[in-house]
Structure formats: structure tokens, C-alpha cells
């Protein structure tokens, strides 16, 4: 079924701002797939449809532990020889998300978006193992790293997450977001530490794309925020990321987010807020 980082990210971010995904698809990506994006206002001009090609393909399954995806098949297909081509509108992006791809490609995209006021990067164990120097250079050129906590540890060789995040920030980013599956997500920044639990759900049907939906909610909100991207706005963005991820996992593929409304998002954000509040001091006894 339809999936992939660009799709999950774009749908999640579309509730906040104009989104322009850049990337290749194959001939199997047809009118129905474009329609899912365009119905949500996603601008598909920079989606490059490769004649005779097939879209990137992943198949896997989840067992008892929904935090662990078991890959059965990965086919790069049109991503194998992908060279990003950005339209002038994409190059003028205010907020940039460099999704998980070979880090030298991420750097070339980053260089084309010189005006971005906030840029974030995702990556994976493959690039940490095979292109570490390029990845470290790419990380040094963005404002924020958004990866799984295990990847922050692997990247830095540091088992303590707080120290690992500091080591990343010493290379340039002002913020590090550690995605932690059902446990939620943590934000390390110059201003300190912030964490949110995953939104508790009694039905989790498909965790695929949760991290991409998180990134879409996080960066989509930041792009829509008119003031400074200060600690308060980063924290609120963490909340929107958490909420979008939670809707994404309720049903398969893009089903739930496709028919989501902004009202439902803000309602769930208010619930998440209520679930994380406490008063450190007891009210004085009467």
C-alpha cells in the first residue's frame, strides 16, 4: 500500500503549511497516489515520475513488540540513481526536512536551500555504518537532528543519551530530537531537555510511518509559526509531532491521516497536554 517517508511526512505537515516533497516515483505511482497527496493540498511539482521505473518498495512485519519492524524486502528501485532536482519554489523553502537518504545527497539539497530558517535531518544505521563522515558533515549543516534514540547512540558511540545528544549538538545542530517509539520523543536543545510520552492508544494497527508523521507534524508546525523558533515553539512542535504520529498508527498506511481534520489534531494536543501536567507543590492545607 501507499507509504514512504515523503508521503507520511507530507500528509502530516499539510495540516500546517504548504508542503513540497522532492523525490522520484515509478510508473506504479499513479493518479490515485497523487490524489492522496493533492487532496491534502500537497504540491507535487517536484515529485519526479521515472518512465519505466518502479517506486521504492518496503515490506515487513511486526510481532508482539510494535517498536520493532522486521524487514522482509527492500527494493530501492527509482531511488537507486536518484539525483534531487529542486524547483525554484522548493529552493526557497523556509523550513527544510532532509529525509533519510545518502548523506551526500542530503548535503547537496541543503546547499540549494540557503534561505531555510530551520532545517532538520533524519538518517539511519546504514549511513552511520557506510558513510559516517558524510553524515557527520551533513549533520553539521542543519539546525536539528531527528532520529531514533538508538541511532544517536550508534552515531556518537555514546550509550548515555544525554551525553550522545550533547555530542551531536557540539557538531552544529541547536536541537536533537530522539524518537523513542511508543515511549514518545525527547528534545535536547541549548535551552535544556523536554520529553513527551507517546499518546496512549488502545488500538495500534500499523506503526509504519509513525516517525515520518512525527517529523511532518513537528516541522509543519514550525513552518507555520510566525515568531521566533524558540524553546516554547519547539516544545509545541514536539506536541504536534506526537499527535500526528498517534493518528498515523491508528489505521493502515495513510488511511487515518488522509481523513484527519485540524480540529481533531488540536483536540488531541489538548488531551496530550492534560496528560503531561502536574503541580510540583501541593496546594497549602486549609
Amino acid at each position: 500500500m501507499l507509504g514512504g517517508t515523503a508521503v507520511h511526512f507530507s500528509l502530516a505537515a499539510s495540516f500546517f503549511t504548504e508542503v513540497r516533497p522532492v523525490g522520484p516515483v515509478g510508473e506504479d505511482f499513479g493518479a490515485a497516489e497523487f490524489e492522496v497527496l493533492e487532496r491534502r493540498g500537497v504540491i507535487t511539482d517536484d515529485i519526479e515520475r521515472v518512465r519505466g521505473g518502479s517506486s521504492f518498495f518496503w515490506r515487513g512485519h511486526y510481532d508482539y513488540d510494535l517498536n520493532v519492524a522486521h524487514t522482509e524486502d527492500t527494493q530501492l528501485n527509482v531511488f537507486g540513481e536518484f539525483e534531487p532536482k529542486l524547483s525554484p519554489a522548493s529552493r526557497a523553502a523556509d523550513v527544510l526536512f532532509l529525509a533519510n537518504i545518502q548523506p551526500d545527497l542530503q548535503r547537496r539539497v541543503r546547499a540549494q536551500c540557503a534561505e531555510a530558517r530551520f532545517s532538520a535531518l533524519d538518517s539511519m544505521n546504514l549511513w552511520i555504518e557506510t558513510a559516517r563522515d558524510s553524515l557527520l558533515a551533513a549533520i553539521g549543516e542543519v539546525d536539528c537532528l531527528i532520529v531514533n534514540d538508538a541511532e544517536i547512540r550508534q552515531l556518537t558511540g555514546e550509550s548515555n543519551l544525554a551525553r550522545a545528544a550533547r555530542a551531536v549538538m557540539e557538531r552544529g545542530p541547536r536541537a536533537v530530537v530522539a524518537k523513542q517509539g511508543e515511549y514518545g520523543a525527547s528534545l535536547f536543545s541549548q535551552e535544556g531537555f523536554f520529553a513527551l510520552p507517546g499518546f496512549p492508544l488502545e488500538e495500534v494497527r500499523d506503526p509504519t510511518g509513525a516517525g515520518d508523521s512525527f517529523a511532518g507534524g513537528f516541522l509543519g508546525y514550525l513552518d507555520s509559526h510566525e515568531g521566533d523558533l524558540d524553546e516554547a515553539s519547539l516544545r509545541r512542535a514536539m506536541g504536534y509531532g506526537t499527535v500526528l504520529a498517534s493518528f498515523n498508527v491508528e489505521e493502515f498506511g495513510t488511511e487515518r491521516v488522509s481523513r484527519l481534520t485540524r480540529g481533531e489534531i488540536d483536540e488531541r494536543l489538548a488531551k496530550l497536554h492534560e496528560m503531561t501536567q502536574f503541580e510540583p507543590l501541593s496546594a497549602p492545607a486549609e
Copy 2:
């Protein structure tokens, strides 16, 4: 070195209230060990010193992942034939913690503390596997279950934590606390869901006893709280549990908590509060 649930729990709870641990020790538990407890005001009247016996002993190690303890040796020793004997003062307990032990013993202690306004129970995989019916009966007699999240799943056969916690509450407890290692802890109650991250530390020397210190901070605070044990006080207790656990892991054994002060505890609780706050609505643009 000195450790064990009763020790870690009692030291943590001692910052809030009078603590009376009940349990057996061997002749190896001498004046120096009693001194660690008594310096913190812990009342050791119900610690039974068994002539010719040796204290419960555990040895293990931690690898890269500090969430996973690798057991090397466990010796029940004096716990092998333990039958809890409660003094009248202990039977009058206002708040009761039934630490991890054979669930029929937990039930016999619970029955002796009829006046407790709040009782909580910890357990482990061994009893889920070998004494499940007794354990379920014990859980039905307490107000709160405090265990690791994996144990809640194993107990209920339910992989979804929210559903698993609801299944536990349907058996009696009004609250379920899921301990989640460095990810923190979650509270399920009739009033809803609440979660706190682990307090972020750049130095974690010894995670042994973190869960027991959490329970001590949690229940110690509740015992000291004069008003109703409502949702607000349970949430604040979660905060104190998190803080005590975080101090415990900073150094080996009981070293850090032994010289802790109430001022340091409240200071860290205020920091934890700051780390979990966000405003769901942006301030209106000027």
C-alpha cells in the same frame, strides 16, 4: 554491597515519612548496614536478623544497555523460609508497599494491614509464571500495581500497554504504574493517563534499585500527603518517584541517596516539572 528492595525503598521513602520495613536479614547484615537505615530515621524493629543465616544476595552486570540487568547469581538465603511477622505499629500502616515476593505472602501481609488507606504491590516474571492465580488475587486486594511495563504485558497477555493496564484495573486496583527504565514511568488511573520521562542524567553509574527507589519516593510522598489521594497527588508522587530513582542511579548502591537532602529532591522535582511543560496554544501575535 548493601542493596535490595527494602533498603532502596526505605531510604527513598524516608525523606517523606516514617518507614518500617519488614523482612529477614542474615548475620552478614550488621551494625554498619543498620546504621545506613537508621541514620535516615528508618525504623528497623521489624527487620528480623536470622541467626546463622545469610542475607538475600544478587550479583549481576549491565552491558551497553543499562535497561537490561544480566543476573549472574541469586541466593534466596534467609528469604527461602521467610514468614512475615508484623509488629502492631507496622500493622497500623497508613500506606503499604508489598514488595516483590511470593504473592501468597503478600496477601497475608495485606490482610494484616486492614487500615491502610493506600496499598501498592510489585511483582516479577517468576510469580507471573509460577503463581499466577495467587498473584491475580493479591492484585485484586491492592489500590495500585507498580511493575515494569513488560510485566504488565506478560501478566495480562496483552501487548498493548493501555489495554493491559485497563485489564489490571478491572481486577481491582484504581491505579497502575508502569516503570519503563530510562524512558520514565506511566500512570494509568480511573481519571486517565499521565507519564513522566526519566530525569536525564549524563552520569548513570548503577541502575540497580532504581525501581525500588521510585516506589519509595512515590509511596513515601503519598503517605506524607494529608489530603485525598487524588489524581493530582498521584501525579506529584510520580514526580517524587522519578526524582528519587534518578538520584539512586547516580552512584553505586546506596551512596547517593544516603547523603541526599530534601532540598535537593524538591529542586530536582522543580527541574523535572520545567522539563515536561509546554503550552499547546501559541501566544497571540502582537
